[in-house]
Symmetry: C2
């Protein structure tokens, strides 16, 4: 990397109110409260938030030891082996290593961990675990640079992105990915088709299996942890899309459809799928079977094209697993709320419960510039129903390439959706953070409230807007209601009055003091 | 109003790409598309977006004629009368006037229309109609002015707020409300307790029924359309809150709890409820029975205190209706997703399907500064289940008084939630906007996409960030993917290729051309 003088600058240092600690070698973010307590949180941010760490982007992150000769995590799980990655993940998720192994063995969870990406901290994607969030980054021909994309990667993981997809389609695709991989503390996914298309000058018709295969091998060698492959877009599915309102909205899907039609042949991704499995197995790269025919509008949700492809992905899932390759399944897209759960049920049925990895879905089409919100609604619902990882959508969706601010807005919106789903699923430990924050709120420990929040900086900034002085950070009110109307202050007085009544009650020999009330 | 030199300045003029038209006297926002078509949208913004209108804030908005001597909308609906307000609403909602009358007569819908607020355009709140959004405005002792609050009112209705609540607790409560009422095109709600508390110097213990009653009468005279009354907070409920994580978080609820405990007497709102009904009936003011014991944290959701109060509200609903007073019921608060639907079912069962009017709910506690999003998730789900009106939450919730930007962010997030619910409920006509926008998107009619969106200004601004030049507004790509990778462009080519195949197919005598594929 040293020959590219891109000099990226990234954000380092602890998140406000937290320090990085290691529990049995596993990094956690420890939030220190003013009452002497602390709360440990799952931490995706890698060494960048460790005050002790020396960050050298040219050298890349430290590398963990990798066992390369015993096959994939799936293969090893099947033999009963608890890998070092599984042990790490068990500590990270607060579950038994045996649960991790079992879920991976059954194909209900994946550990995207290319042997050639030892910089990443192992993590698991599966519905038995905390819901994960992916952040898409990457340049386009119109916008951005390597330095900006490396910065976005660090920025996204700082705010909680569990994986990153580098979807670069512009200049320096290989170099951009190299910088990201060597410096990413989380697994990195790609859509190899984008680079393959660049290689043939951007014309889908010129694509060949050989060009695609060589691209995949190059990316496997580099260390990409999971790859989106749109192998489910078959020639016979294409006619099902012609009466759609928004046709084919997946880039990979539209490219393959164009190729199939131009050559009047079946997709080379489909006809060469066995070979592809052999390549991915060699590095333990996880398939993310792409939904090339996902709906791009409310009108097209849950239609014949979408579900025909999903059925094909089910078949491919079984092929991949027979090769020992880990698989997850990508999902929509744009889906109205009442049609969301059906997607999960069908995916689980057709794809043997392979982890579902969904883009949103957006619950309406009418809010460009706010699609992090339209899709956080759908994402929360689909995650509650069993989706294992949510691909974020930023406010720029449909309008332009996300910048640094958009990346953070997208990640935070999706951390909300993922956490809301964890709560709804009764995920062990999820509610501890809500409870700690709410107790801080009720006790007017403003600093603790900020530090326990998903974004301490913005929470503080908002509070500062109207009450910037330091004493306001322990005041028993805020500018929303002012001192006289603070329900929480009054509520404390109510509780004190109740306690007083209770003492009187005891003193008076525990006779009932409540008046008789007729409703 | 002329003696107060506050000189508020408000935003006027059409929303980008739209004009105001009147259909049978009912204002609609007409979006003009570049393909010659148009789409008419429900319009809450009043004369402020009418290019022809002359806005004079000192004089207030034009006033419609009001029939004052035939009782409330509920009473008239019961006698079979279709009021002018019902006819207006029928045109506005695109339904029959008889449906409006029937829903009002059954108490499943309310028309908040104080005889003394003839400036407002009639609207309906009920689950058979489009889901509505309320925006809270109002100053606090710490922040804001009359001019700012009038501006927020116009600003909120511009972006789609269906009602406004003036929750002022600071200076000039009466004057602020007067300016808002005389200039508001939508119904205005209040919590009279706030002004009553100001009158007794901010000490809940000093409150009396007489002070409260006189405040209510003053507000009825001014034209307030609906009032939050926390009459369901009973003495016997208070002990149920002592072990909560966040106690009592409703301002009105905490005030009444403090009063009850201090005097060791039942709430005067409860003991004088009949009198209150008589007052509200005189003006046709709608009750919004407040949930003074709503949960303020995930931990406290759906607890005994909350549901005990809801049961009491059910009893009060029947009392109010026996007086001919319209009623809606307020709902939580903070509720994890899996506990949301139970709230709607219980409310419908206990309160005879009176319209449910909920604050969010927030699906998690951990995202202060983003609670418009945590709550839009809950709001969409609860509206799908039957909530009739959603009270917005702004990004400033828990942190400070919302400013102009927060108001817009809150309204847009809630228009998303409400529309997502309309789609999920299959509300007639809801999907037309999604389809029109998605068709514009697929056909690269960027201007139309902006104009059909909830916020045309921000959508355009985001697009301008990377592609500001005018030709980009008809280009067949954006900066997200760049020209080569635009799925929609490729998808058009796929459709053209399919059409070509189809022509060849016909020419060749309709023989099957698809290859045999084995899955």
């Amino acid at each position: 990397m040293t020959d590219v003088s891109i000099a990226p600058a990234v954000t380092t240092g602890p998140i406000a109110g937290s320090t990085k600690v290691y529990r049995n070698g596993v990094p956690v973010r420890r939030v220190h409260l003013t009452n002497g307590e602390h709360l440990d949180l799952y931490d995706t941010s890698g060494p960048y938030t460790d005050e002790e760490a020396v960050i050298d982007l040219d050298a890349g992150l430290p590398r963990r030891e990798v066992i390369r000769d015993r096959g994939t995590q799936l293969q090893r799980a099947r033999t009963g082996e608890v890998t070092p990655e599984m042990s790490f993940i068990a500590e990270r998720e607060g579950v038994s290593a045996e649960l991790v192994r079992d879920e991976v063995a059954r194909g209900r969870a994946v550990i995207p961990a290319n042997h050639n990406h030892p910089e990443a901290e192992p993590m698991v994607i599966g519905k038995a675990f905390a819901v994960k969030v992916n952040a898409n980054i990457g340049n386009s021909a119109v916008s951005s640079s390597i330095a900006e994309e490396v910065d976005k990667m660090v920025w996204a993981t700082r705010w909680g992105a569990d994986t990153i997809m580098d979807l670069s389609t512009g200049r320096d695709i290989h170099q951009t990915r190299e910088w990201i991989l060597r410096n990413s503390p989380v697994p990195v996914g790609t859509v190899p088709m984008y680079q393959a298309l660049e290689r043939v000058g951007g014309d889908p018709v010129q694509l060949t299996w050989e060009v695609y295969r060589d691209t995949v091998i190059e990316q496997c060698e580099q260390g990409v942890d999971y790859m989106t492959v749109h192998a489910g877009v078959l020639l016979r599915h294409i006619p099902l899309t012609v009466n759609r309102v928004t046709g084919i909205v997946s880039r990979g899907g539209s490219i393959m459809a164009a190729w199939c039609l131009a050559h009047h042949r079946e997709s080379f991704l489909y006809t060469h799928f066995d070979e592809l499995c052999d390549i991915l197995a060699r590095y333990d790269v996880t398939f993310s079977l792409g939904d090339g025919l996902r709906p791009g509008s409310i009108a097209d949700a849950n239609d014949a094209a979408q579900f025909a492809e999903l059925r094909t992905l089910g078949g491919l899932t079984r092929v991949a697993k027979s090769h020992g390759v880990q698989v997850m399944i990508e999902g929509p897209g744009h889906v109205p709320m009442h049609k969301i759960v059906e997607n999960v049920r069908l995916e689980e049925e057709l794809c043997d419960e392979a982890p579902f990895y969904t883009l949103g879905p957006l619950a309406t089409d009418i809010a460009p510039a706010y699609d992090h919100i339209t899709s956080a609604i759908g994402a929360a619902i689909i995650a509650q129903a069993g989706t294992a990882m949510l691909c974020y959508v930023t406010p720029k969706e449909h309008l332009g390439l996300p910048n640094r601010k958009d990346v953070k807005d997208g990640v935070i919106a999706y951390k909300i959706a993922a956490h809301a789903a964890d709560l709804a699923k009764g995920h062990p430990g999820a509610q501890a953070r809500d409870d700690a924050l709410s107790r801080a709120r009720f006790e007017f420990r403003w600093e603790d409230q900020f530090h326990l929040s998903l974004d301490p900086d913005t929470a503080r900034e908002f509070h500062d807007e109207t009450l910037p002085a330091a004493p306001a950070k322990t005041a028993h009110f805020c500018s929303m209601c002012g001192p006289k109307f603070c329900s929480m202050r009054i509520s404390h007085e109510v509780q004190e009055a109740m306690a007083q009544k209770s003492r009187e009650f005891a003193e008076q020999g525990n006779q009932v003091y409540l008046p008789v009330v007729t409703t």
